[in-house]
């Protein structure tokens, strides 16, 4: 059984930007390695300005790297033929204002070399997928941000690509839009497509990615399956109860010490965070003995946010 070829392979990628006139170069990507397998959803995470967009642009030959190797579908990434199998949605896309949605998709269809009938069919198909069929007759300059994002997704999918690259696809979308986009991405995954997207919204990444990579200092510092990255250990508990005030409980439970933290105090209910197992049992006892009513206890494990913050702000 042969190992399937990675869709994308990057090794030793470097890119620096020339500064303004006298101020020197700034190296943005300092030796980035990355591999994406077919059929997976990969999320590239990182702070603003960390170089996520730069990396994506290099894959698409919008920018040229200083050093390193990129290969798509096993061959050199610069071949124009690859572009038939790729779809790209840039961040904050902007399109020709005076064209209607349909005309726009038709124009892009021409760039793929599709005949008129095929262009029309494909355009209608993607418009239906992104939910824009009824508004495709409007000129693009009248589109809202959400509509632009959708038509952007439509043009990325018009050639039914195997590999879809999305730069901050959810930015500017309302909650319904985000749900719909998530569904589109998951649907693509179900059909066996490979998706590579960059984001700094962790909840999205958590919901749809198979693997993530965190871009920091020009390299991917942490990378892998979410399940593998996040420690399963319980980090803390959150206890919600009603009854005696916290201060009273504290003295009894912790022996005047830390280990407990009042998170919120809304009317009769209080929420307390506890980091130590022993302190937890003391607190639970204390609630019972003081005549309080336990409402809930929940365990908090490491989230992606925890991991991200830890990675990005330095150990």
């Amino acid at each position: 059984m042969s190992v399937p070829q990675p869709v994308l392979e990057i090794a030793g990628l470097r890119k620096s930007y020339k500064g303004h006139l006298s101020i020197g170069r700034r190296e943005v990507i300092k030796g980035l390695d990355l591999t994406i397998q077919p059929g997976e959803v990969f999320g590239l995470l990182g702070q603003n300005g960390s170089g996520k967009t730069t990396t994506l642009k290099m894959i698409l030959s919008l920018i040229f790297p200083d050093a390193g190797r990129i290969s798509l579908f096993g061959t050199d990434y610069r071949s124009v033929a690859h572009r038939h199998r790729i779809g790209f949605l840039p961040e904050n896309p902007w399109f020709y204002e005076y064209l209607t949605g349909r005309e726009f998709l038709d124009f892009y269809g021409q760039l793929f070399g599709y005949g008129r009938a095929e262009r029309s069919a494909r355009a209608e198909a993607v418009l239906a997928r992104v939910g824009m069929s009824d508004r495709a007759g409007l000129p693009l300059r009248k589109y809202s941000k959400g509509m632009l994002q959708r038509i952007g997704m439509a043009q990325a999918l018009i050639n039914d690509p195997e590999f879809v690259i999305l730069d901050e696809p959810m930015s500017g979308l309302d909650p319904i839009g985000r749900r719909e986009f998530r569904d589109i991405i998951l649907d693509l995954k179900r059909r066996g497509r490979t998706i590579f997207f960059s984001s700094h919204i962790l909840s999205d990444a958590e919901a749809i990615c198979d693997r993530v990579g965190i871009l920091k200092d020009g390299r991917i510092g942490v990378e892998g399956r979410l399940a593998d990255l996040l420690s399963p250990a319980v980090r803390s508990w959150e206890v919600m109860y009603a009854g005696p005030p916290f201060a009273q409980l504290m003295s009894v439970a912790a022996g005047g010490d830390g280990g407990c933290q009042l998170l919120s105090d809304r009317g009769p209910e209080s929420l307390v965070a506890v980091h130590d197992e022993k302190v937890l049992s003391k607190l639970l006892d204390s609630i019972r003995t003081q005549g309080g009513r336990l409402i809930s206890v929940s365990a908090r494990r490491e989230t992606l946010e925890d991991l991200y913050v830890k990675e990005v702000s330095g150990r």
């Binding site: 698409l60 904050n92 021409q110 760039l111 043009q155």
Partner: protein, 253 residues
């Protein structure tokens, strides 16, 4: 062909640019106003109307080439429409050439409209001289050249700088003979060489200027027309090649 698709798209985009209509209105105004102006003269009104007509066509053509042309490429990059375009299976060369062709199409339409208005004015007064078409044809070639300059600069520079550079080259193009004079008058082998060098290398737009001759009803010999056309088109080809070369290695930040 993919270049034609981009050209068609560029044409549609430029046609809806309001600057175009402003410039067209000015041109038509000028041609109309020339009739009024000619009332202030003693002697031949015909010459004045023809001079101003040809000058309007040329100057507004250059203005369109610069303002619309420079803006086109820059707008694509600024507004990031280029990102999705270049990620499709087209070469960058096709993109730039398509843009150029679209722009030339716009210029041709512009020129045709202005020429039609101009000719109508002339026919109405009985001053029509079909030899003017020769001068207008060479003006069109000149516009193609200037547009190529505009595209070249806008493939790597901001619109303001590109416009400035293009205007500068237009001016230099009409002052070529000044370089020749300088080459004669200046002293020193190096200086002379530089003057001669620039004289030959920089575009000599005066070679494409037969407007004065057409107005005076002088001969526009066919061989000269042919060579002028060849010069203009080949120089344009060189500029486009440079533009493609520059555009190919450009980072779209």
């Amino acid at each position: 062909m993919k270049i034609m698709a981009i050209a068609a798209n560029t044409f549609k985009e430029a046609i809806r640019d309001r600057i175009l209509y402003l410039l067209l209105a000015f041109a038509i105004l000028m041609i109309g106003a020339s009739r009024l102006l000619s009332l202030m003269t003693v002697g031949s009104e015909e010459k004045i109307v023809k001079d101003i007509g040809l000058a309007s066509i040329a100057l507004f053509g250059v203005a369109v080439a610069i303002f619309v042309g420079v803006g086109l490429v820059f707008k694509e990059i600024e507004k990031r429409t280029v990102y999705t375009l270049v990620s499709k299976p087209i070469r960058r060369s096709q993109f730039i050439l398509g843009k150029y062709c679209g722009l030339v199409l716009v210029l041709a339409v512009n020129l045709a409209v202005m020429t039609a208005v101009f000719y109508l004015v002339l026919i109405q007064r009985g001053w029509m001289d079909w030899r003017l078409t020769g001068a207008i044809w060479l003006t069109f070639i000149e516009l193609m050249l200037v547009t190529a300059i505009a595209i070249l600069f806008s493939s790597f520079s901001t619109p303001i700088l590109s416009s400035l550079f293009t205007v500068t080259f237009f001016i230099i193009g009409h002052l070529s003979w000044g370089l020749r004079l300088m080459a004669d008058k200046v002293e020193g082998v190096a200086a002379k060489f530089l003057c001669e060098f620039f004289y030959r290398v920089l575009p000599n737009l005066e070679l494409l200027n037969m407007r004065g001759r057409a107005v005076h009803g002088l001969e526009l010999p066919e061989s000269q027309m042919a060579f002028a056309t060849l010069y203009g088109l080949s120089y344009t080809a060189v500029l486009l090649a440079l533009a493609v070369a520059t555009f190919r290695r450009r980072d779209f930040l």
